[in-house]
């Protein structure tokens, strides 16, 4: 470049078109990762949604494969179904009136709303436990061949556009058959394990954060705890699973139970909660502590009457986000019993259990296309729960944001 200061024209300062272009390209290229990441998210969600709906030809186990108009009461649907199966009016009525029989009937035959059937949109069908799938088509293919499939329906078969994620999916137990597999047991497993884990992780995590931020800002114990926490945070979660397996499951003899899982997950959650709790404690201005000390508050009174209340919204947000992280953890729990086939609801801390992400893992690794649909439905449930928590945290963060 040849710049001559004597020349008065603006060009004399010299623009380098080449460099300008690099500059612009560079700035644009930097946005690429973001675009890719968002693209990936969109694809992921799209794939999950798409996979969670399919067009199926189902052969009813006992019944005739009829569908019923939307708007009927469930009992009425079931009554008509029984009649169609060949029960007399009398038998059907007595079955439906006896509370025990009625309960069994409803457990074995679920009245499900289908988005579309061969007889039109939004119809009820009665799904038996041993209904058999004849064919399963992706949404596009199924809709394209709808008429053809409808024409080819055999005796006792029905054509349905099935949303795999429906209300009964949330309450069904796992099953060897994808049609009747549900996530109910895993949801309750997650609720149990998570609540017990938080019962451990919250006091320990917040207690440690308070100790480090309010009592021991320096000194040997502070350094030991701090180094230890930093390294713990880097330990892969599956190693916590090995710890749980060795200590809780075997050494303490708790077995593959909710309690073992909760202890394992609780330990895993501690470093995360410590980090978020420390951040919110640090955000409390020093001047508040000074004010409280000047009024003659003891350390404990300063911490628990002033600092902790002021940091509470931040801590709650942090705990919610940590809980969201823990919900998604599958690896450590695979080692402490969550991989078992558990077809019944947990009844207490010593029940066997499974949790949502592990259930999804099990479904995915079955390597059967229809179970992939079940897995997609499970993923939708989990993502819904997580986004609920995420937005709750966001809301709390904004609602209680303080300007000091």
């Amino acid at each position: 470049m040849n710049r001559t200061l004597s020349s008065p024209s603006p060009e004399a300062f010299g623009t380098d078109p080449w460099k300008t272009r690099i500059d612009r390209t560079f700035a644009r290229a930097l946005v690429l990762p973001l675009v890719l990441a968002i693209g990936l998210l969109v694809l992921l969600l799209g794939d999950t949604l798409y996979r969670s709906v399919s067009v199926q030809v189902v052969r009813a186990d006992e019944g005739p494969g009829r569908t019923y108009p939307f708007g009927l009461a469930a009992t009425e649907v079931l009554r008509q179904e029984l009649l169609a199966r060949g029960y007399t009016e009398e038998e059907a009525r007595s079955l439906l009136q006896d509370p025990t029989e009625r309960r069994v009937l409803f457990l074995q035959n679920r009245v499900e709303l289908m988005w579309n059937t061969q007889e039109g949109p939004f119809r009820y069908v009665v799904t038996g436990l041993r209904d058999e799938r004849v064919a399963d088509f992706s949404l596009l293919e199924g809709l394209r061949r709808w008429e053809e499939l409808k024409a080819g329906l055999g005796e006792g078969e029905r054509l349905v556009l099935n949303p795999w994620l429906d209300q009964s999916f949330l309450t069904r137990t796992p099953s060897r058959s994808p049609l009747t597999a549900g996530i109910g047991v895993a949801i309750w497993g997650t609720i149990w394990v998570l609540s017990l884990a938080l019962l451990i992780a919250i006091p320990v995590g917040i207690g440690t954060a308070i100790l480090l931020e309010e009592y021991l800002r320096e000194g040997t114990l502070n350094r030991i705890l701090e180094v230890n926490l930093r390294n713990l945070a880097g330990v892969p979660s599956i190693v916590y699973g090995l710890l749980g397996l060795a200590i809780f499951v075997r050494e303490m003899g708790l077995g593959p139970t909710i309690l073992s899982a909760a202890l394992t997950l609780g330990l895993l959650g501690i470093p995360v909660i410590v980090v978020t709790a420390r951040e919110s404690l640090r955000a409390v201005p020093e001047s508040l502590r000074q004010a409280a000390f000047a009024l003659g508050a003891t350390r404990r009174q300063v911490v628990f009457r002033v600092v902790v209340p002021a940091a509470l919204p931040g801590m709650v947000t942090g705990v919610i986000l940590s809980a969201a992280r823990l919900i998604g953890e599958a690896a450590p729990l695979l080692l402490v019993g969550a991989a078992a086939y558990v077809p019944f609801y947990p009844t207490g801390p010593l029940s066997e259990y499974t949790v949502i992400p592990v259930q999804i893992y099990l479904w995915v690794s079955m390597n059967i296309p229809e179970f992939a649909r079940v897995a997609a439905a499970g993923i939708l449930v989990m993502l819904l729960v997580l986004s609920g928590l995420y937005f709750l945290a966001l809301y709390l963060r904004n609602r209680f944001r303080r300007e000091w």
């Binding site: 000074q290 409280a292 000390f293 003891t298 009174q301 002021a310």
Partner: protein, 271 residues
């Protein structure tokens, strides 16, 4: 340039010294170190009862440090070391048997920037009272009383139980902090540049308040503003580089300073 060595050679210049009987606080040979750095050099001074004493001096001279050693707030700074005595009603508050928390319950403090708790106005003022175990209607009465004495009651009486202290204006916040400090009836009130974050009108209100307060309390106030010191205080201390250079009645210090540095400072000829 003023050097520390030159300053340390001279005794503090005292005009009309305070007698032992008049003094609420008697500082004797106080030195203080932050780690290795010495911040106060052998300070001796008496603060008379029911008077306002101002501490002035250039930035970093140790005004806040001296003030904060009167209620042992400096104990909270890691690595602080103190020598000498601070006698409060004849009791050395640095005696190992004295609990700094007890000292602070007895001495009020107001800070440079208003620092209300993120609680209601009521809870702010009630904080110190609750620490002392005051409850029920007595608590309520004393909160109202403190708000009245801090000249805030009229502005907040209709909302003081609901509204957060943080929602007040800066000047109101500072009066809230004063109310909070005086609610426990501390015989001594320490104020560290209480108006430096406020506008002139709010400052005026606080200064008026200080005049009021002195009938019941002993006040020590740090200020950067010499007019303020002249307006509100009965006695003034001039510090420099951690040394107490001169002390005496305010009008003497401002009109007939005896030490050349004091004169240089108050006439604005200071380096």
């Amino acid at each position: 340039m003023v050097s520390l060595e030159m300053l340390k050679e001279h005794e503090t210049v005292r005009t009309a010294p305070v007698s032992e009987a008049e003094a609420l606080v008697d500082v004797r040979g106080l030195s203080l170190w932050y780690g290795k750095k010495q911040a106060l050099y052998d300070i001796s001074v008496r603060f008379p009862r029911n008077q306002v004493t101002a501490i002035i001096g250039p930035s970093g001279c140790g005004k806040s440090t001296l003030l904060r050693s009167l209620n042992r707030m400096n104990d909270l700074v890691p690595g602080v070391r103190v020598e000498g005595e601070v006698l409060y009603e004849g009791v050395n508050i640095y005696d190992p048997r004295v609990d700094p928390v007890a000292v602070r319950r007895h001495i009020g403090m107001v800070f440079q920037k208003p620092n209300p708790f993120p609680k209601t106005i009521f809870e702010n003022v009630a904080f110190g009272l609750r620490l002392m175990g005051v409850k029920g209607s007595e608590l309520e009465d004393r909160v109202v009383e403190a708000l009245k004495r801090a000249a805030l009651w009229n502005e907040v009486q209709d909302r003081f139980k609901k509204e957060s202290g943080l929602r007040l204006s800066g000047g109101q916040q500072q009066r809230l902090c004063i109310a909070r400090a005086i609610a426990v009836e501390p015989p001594l009130l320490l104020m560290d540049e209480p108006t430096s974050a406020l506008d002139p009108i709010a400052t005026q209100a606080i200064e008026d308040l200080i005049q009021e307060l002195k009938t019941r309390y002993t006040v020590v106030i740090v200020t950067h503003n010499m007019q303020q010191a002249a307006r509100v205080s009965d006695r003034t201390l001039f510090m420099h580089l951690g040394v107490l250079v001169e002390e005496g009645p305010t009008e003497v210090l401002f009109t007939k300073p005896k030490h050349p540095y004091t004169e240089a400072y108050i006439t604005g000829r200071f380096g």
